[in-house]
Symmetry: C2
Subunit: 332 residues, 2 copies
């Protein structure tokens, strides 16, 4: 295992401490695994909390800031945060207008967020939760009942975050988060595994001529192990199940998100985006907004995922709203 | 070789086409390997052109936009752009106020930018050039007479770009670019090699317990192949030569840039940044600004580099100025 770390057991806290030192005007760590906006709680604003296992950076702590999350609670690598941690984040961002939990659909995450929500309710904090389950690759998986939550999570955080920043109430923020969940679909591919530091060996191995289509963000098995193919063919294998699922139709305008899994360089992600753009144009689907980069990663895994979100005026306006976080900044 | 590409010979153009499709309001490709701001040329504004081999994305094309570069001319992977390409970029961004070339100190780059500058001068375009040579690792290298240009290049592009955007004339933009060159020092480490697509095998191999200190961004040999060490020790091995070189002194305020080489996850880069912050604090040096992420990469190489720039009011103000590019966006 070759990593730029000190002791594996200190990795998450050391990394969060480094993040806070790099973003002193944006966020702070108020307890182990609890990252909050520097100005939290904001009186009268709905608080947005997300979290999940570490190893997917910049998700979620990289999206804490004005226009997006109020808090993130990262667990150990590929491990759910504990209820006390989620509760601490919820309390830290409660400004009296309630708190929305944005939860990726993994059994441990869902359970721990539910427990934290009950504890918060006992404190008098109104909590709602949305569960993101955008991955069309598999129905149930190693860690889920139902579909996994992957790249769509970022889109939920951005759009719900914009609504909360603009002063929407809890029901309205929840409604918008659900609209994104309803309209977003994703699928990923891995060209390599990744190594959890505390384990020290790759989660799985792929032969030199193989890729895994439909991979999960923890290296869970996907749909099929197939021969490595040119980028245009990989895009077809990812995009067709996504398009068929919602389904997306000719005339739709979409946000197209090409996400790097960590180890795949940006030069390749733009090749993938170009191929996706062509494929969509061929189906009469217009890319109205886009995002290309490593945002929902699996440590150093090579590969990518595609997320499509069907847009309309309401979602487009919220996507375009200003945001300032470590990982996502709008210049307008 | 496992990459998300089509034919290796089409990689750069396909990737640039994808970038342009993803950033339609920001940039366009006007000729093969010539990426320019969507609104170029801007009448009366000094034009900024940079370029070099591809494989270092988002450098340089990811930094084209308001407040930074007017054009980028990426060559083939790890290969200098040709003079005609640099000339086309120079012509495309000349708004009558002259053009600054920002050149990383590699023999081929320097020669080809000089040739392009002569051709542009024959067209009546005033061109100045600054050569970035911030890497303290080695004096001469496989591809350079003198020091290599690495992470400091991004800082030159940002600060000179802010000055040009604010209306500074060519001499003033050149002066500021040289100030950054004078005050920035860098050094990198590799934990793995990377594979140039047209070659198909890694540039070099490291044993499981080895790292290469002082690596170049094309995998050129560094100072020493040494045993893999904890992050805090790696930071010491990179930072001490940097600090001794300028030298940086107690009381200095710096911009600290922890750059990922491509294959190293963000969770590790923040561990490195935290260790660097502590080391600097111990020397009485204050981190006033920071940047953490994969910005000057070597394809999928694992590793990182550290760049320090000594700040003062003038440089800090230009660093803080608004910018809007694919890779670097300010929210303020």
């Amino acid at each position: 295992m070759k990593k730029l770390i000190n002791r594996p057991e200190d990795l998450v806290e050391e990394s969060l401490a480094g993040l806070a030192l790099a973003q002193p005007d944006l966020l702070r760590v108020v307890a182990p695994g609890v990252v909050v906006r520097i100005d939290a709680p904001r009186r009268g604003k709905v608080g947005l909390v997300s979290g999940g296992g570490s190893g997917h950076e910049p998700l979620h702590a990289g999206f804490v800031g004005p226009g997006m999350l109020d808090a993130a609670c990262p667990g150990a690598v590929f491990t759910s945060p504990v209820p006390d941690q989620i509760l601490a984040a919820t309390r830290a961002v409660d400004g009296g207008a309630g708190v929305l939990h944005i939860v990726k659909n993994y059994t441990g995450d869902v359970m721990n967020f539910e427990m934290a929500a009950e504890l918060a309710a006992a404190d008098g904090i109104e909590v709602r939760a949305v569960t993101v389950a955008d991955d069309v690759a598999v129905q149930d998986s190693l860690y889920t009942a139902g579909r996994r939550g992957v790249g769509g999570t970022l889109l939920v955080e951005k759009i719900a975050g914009a609504a909360a920043e603009a002063g929407a109430d809890l029901a309205e923020v929840e409604r918008l988060a659900r609209r994104v969940c309803d309209g977003a679909r994703s699928m990923g591919v891995a060209l390599s595994g990744c190594t959890v530091p505390a384990v020290g060996r790759p989660t799985f191995e792929l032969a030199d001529d193989e890729m895994e289509i439909g991979i999960g963000i923890h290296g869970e098995p996907g749909r099929a192990r197939v021969p490595l193919a040119p980028a245009a063919e990989v895009v077809r294998q990812l995009a067709e199940p996504i398009l068929a699922d919602l389904p997306f139709r000719a005339g739709d305008g979409v946000l197209a998100f090409v996400n790097g899994m960590g180890g795949t360089p940006l030069i390749e992600l733009h090749v993938v985006f170009g191929a996706l753009h062509r494929l969509l144009a061929g189906r009469g689907i217009t890319v109205e907004r886009s995002l290309v980069g490593p945002y929902v990663t699996s440590l150093e895994m090579a590969g990518c995922s595609i997320t499509l979100l069907r847009l309309d005026d309401e979602l487009r306006r919220l996507w375009d709203a200003p945001v300032r976080t470590a990982a996502l900044r709008w210049g307008r």
